[in-house]
């Protein structure tokens, strides 16, 4: 189920140019807030723009932001986590301190502060999410690395003269990447929600670029005129969150040996 939803999301995002029925930026003020019809499948917004097309293009933004942010976080967390786990004690202490310091800020507060400082834009949002998420991955990789580096096959490899780079990337990385990918798939809906939340507050992707958060914000502003905008902005968020969560849980169930035992 989760896989199907995610595949549909990816298809709609990649094929937005073909799937959208209208230009998502084209305004027709006289056709504002129309109910769903054959012409406008999800109706129109307060500026007369086709909501279905905006939702499709909004999915592209959501997917792009979330995949980019999660990938960069994963890579950053992987590298720093392995360095902390395998490197000298002082480096471990330093990195753990940094991880704890970053994690001590609630993500949304951290995001608000950074956006206020740097100004709202897609790169800013990605940067904020990456900085806030690296410690999540880093801590997991560190713990895995710490336990792996004392295993017999790593000790044997070291005795045979293998350098730290070879040990980390040939032996430790393959063993830690699995849980990390599961975590990443479950982080994607969180990132999408953060992006939508910031856009809802007017601190995310700048208008007129369509995002699910900004569609929700429009829906909120005009909820007494039409309920369709809120539904159109909220439904894909719910489905995507569910889809990625189901997918993550399925991956965890499939690959986590501890769960398999039960």
């Amino acid at each position: 189920m989760g896989f199907i939803i995610v595949v549909l999301l990816v298809i709609s995002a990649l094929g937005a140019d073909f799937l959208a029925t209208h230009d998502p930026f084209r305004m027709a003020p006289r056709q504002r807030m129309l109910d769903p019809s054959a012409e406008h499948w999800l109706g129109t917004d307060q500026l007369g723009r086709d909501v279905y097309s905006r939702v499709i293009y909004g999915g592209r933004i959501a997917l792009w932001v979330s995949l980019t942010a999660v990938s960069l976080s994963l890579i950053g967390g992987l590298i720093l986590g392995m360095l902390a786990g395998y490197g000298p004690r002082w480096l471990d202490n330093l990195l753990v301190l940094v991880f704890d310091a970053v994690r001590s800020f609630p993500t949304i507060m951290f995001a608000l502060a950074m956006v206020t400082l740097l100004g709202p834009s897609i790169p800013t949002i990605i940067t904020v999410i990456v900085v806030a998420s690296i410690p999540v991955y880093g801590r997991i990789v560190r713990i895995q690395t710490l336990s792996m580096k004392e295993t017999e096959f790593v000790l044997a490899e070291r005795a045979l003269g293998a350098g730290p780079v070879r040990i980390l990337f040939s032996h430790i990385l393959p063993n830690v990447i699995g849980p990390l990918l599961i975590l990443a798939s479950m982080e994607i809906p969180v990132v999408i929600t953060i992006e939508a939340g910031l856009s809802f507050l007017g601190l995310g992707v700048r208008p007129p670029t369509p995002t699910w958060g900004s569609i929700l914000q429009d829906g909120y502003q005009y909820i007494r005129d039409t309920p369709w905008l809120v539904i159109a902005g909220g439904l894909p968020l719910i489905l995507t969150t569910l889809g990625f969560t189901f997918l993550g849980e399925a991956l965890r169930d499939a690959f986590d040996p501890k769960l398999n035992r039960h």
């Binding site: 003020p29 006289r30 709202p120 208008p207 909820i223």
Partner: protein, 521 residues
Amino acid sequence: MAFDAFSRRNFLKTAAGAGLVATIPGTEVVAQGGLKILKSRCDQAIETIDPGWRLGTVDDNIMRSVWQGLISVVPGESWNWEKQLATEVVQETPTRIRFEMKKGVMWSGGFGEITAEDVKFSYERIANPDNKMAYRTDWEKLDRVEITGTHSGIIHLKAPFMPLWLSTLPAGSGLVLPKKAMESKGITKITTDPLAYSGPYRIKTMEPRRLIVLERNPDWKGERPAYDEIHYIVVLDANAAEIAYEAGELDMTHLPIASVARLQKKMPAKSKLVVKPSLAYWWLGMQMEDGPFKDIRVRQAVQYGLDVDMVLDAAFFGVATRSTGIIAPGLIGHRPKNQIEKPDVAKAKQLLAAAGFPNGFKTDIGVRNSAEFVNAAQAVAASLANIGIQADVRTFDTGAQKALAGDKGGKWKEMGLHIVRFSMQPDPSWATAWFVTEQIGEWNWERFSNPEFDKLHQSLTSELDEKKRDEGYRRMQDLMEASGAYVFLTHGVNALVHRDTVAPALSPDAQRQFWNRFKPA
């Protein structure tokens, strides 16, 4: 609104209402006491209530409640004034105004009687160019205030000053401040603490971003206000304010123009809608000192390329009509038409190409973070896309946008375009005052500088001939438009919804609230 008794129903209603308002503590506690409370929406955070530095109407509403002036605007249908601290104010010559003050009116906090010293202090501090106050133009022709007695004096002007009786003395810049209190505390700029009171209300609670509670000033000797307390509740978002109103958490709120049509069709129960022509003005401005907009051809391309009627239709749902300048119909200096009346996309593209931007460019539109402004900005962006200009919308809190536009370190360069709405007093000089060269870095966000404009602004405030004033102010708006830095959008309307149990006292344009004159209906 007022007279709320604490009950289970009220509690449930409050809990179900807009969360923002419902979280404000004390409302139920106050209601328990059976006090008459008026709950009005404040649409921006309070930063200063200093008459020389005020940011907008909301500051003005508070200032006029806690202090008095020699004279004050009278709420109603026309722009009249009445004596307040003064018993007599006489314009003896065009440059000499004699005043006599009431005796025995005291400052709160033991700061003594209100005297002509306070008047002199209050007006001369704004006029003093060294203080560089934002509202110094209100007193730009003041020479000095001569004290002729404890309660009397003469305002000497350097030249006749026509706005004096419309926009200066009866408005915020005419308020009298507590000299002793300010000097004894070493304060030169008031933030949110009035220091001493002379008005009908005093501040009970001041949480500038959340809630301002005014309570009756026990030392007030004038007519007793009908409401014991005014709860001025900060609700930045207009939609949240409407929801709060419908949930019974506000007794009145100004509305976005786009809400008017809907409310005219279906009003909330037991409510009244007030819609008045506004004196305020909206425009699309371009900063003309940096980037592509430095070239007048680019600015003119925007003027020709922008479909203003589409923007107004999109942002204001067809309720607002296009303006012809910054001076509203009915006022001296109102222009009959714009120089550029219709969009001409081909000409706009030609101008852009001639300026070296045949494929357009990217820029930002800075706007206040509210639906009206964001919709207007998106409509502008859509319209400018037709000539190749790709504009992203950047939203700000009001104070943050002003800080950026006036940033001395050059951050103003970050905002190429902006959509702004300025409130207005009935004298035309109050519209032009913000666009003189001296206001660059303050309110002149376009950084427009024109010697003829500056000269006209100076001379027209002293011009006694109404026809010459009319021609002069029209010419000034011509100069603004000819600079390319302005596209005049609309004056809009001021819309306000209130409970039918409240009889509001508003300025003729329904912008300002005179809380001490509000009555239960």
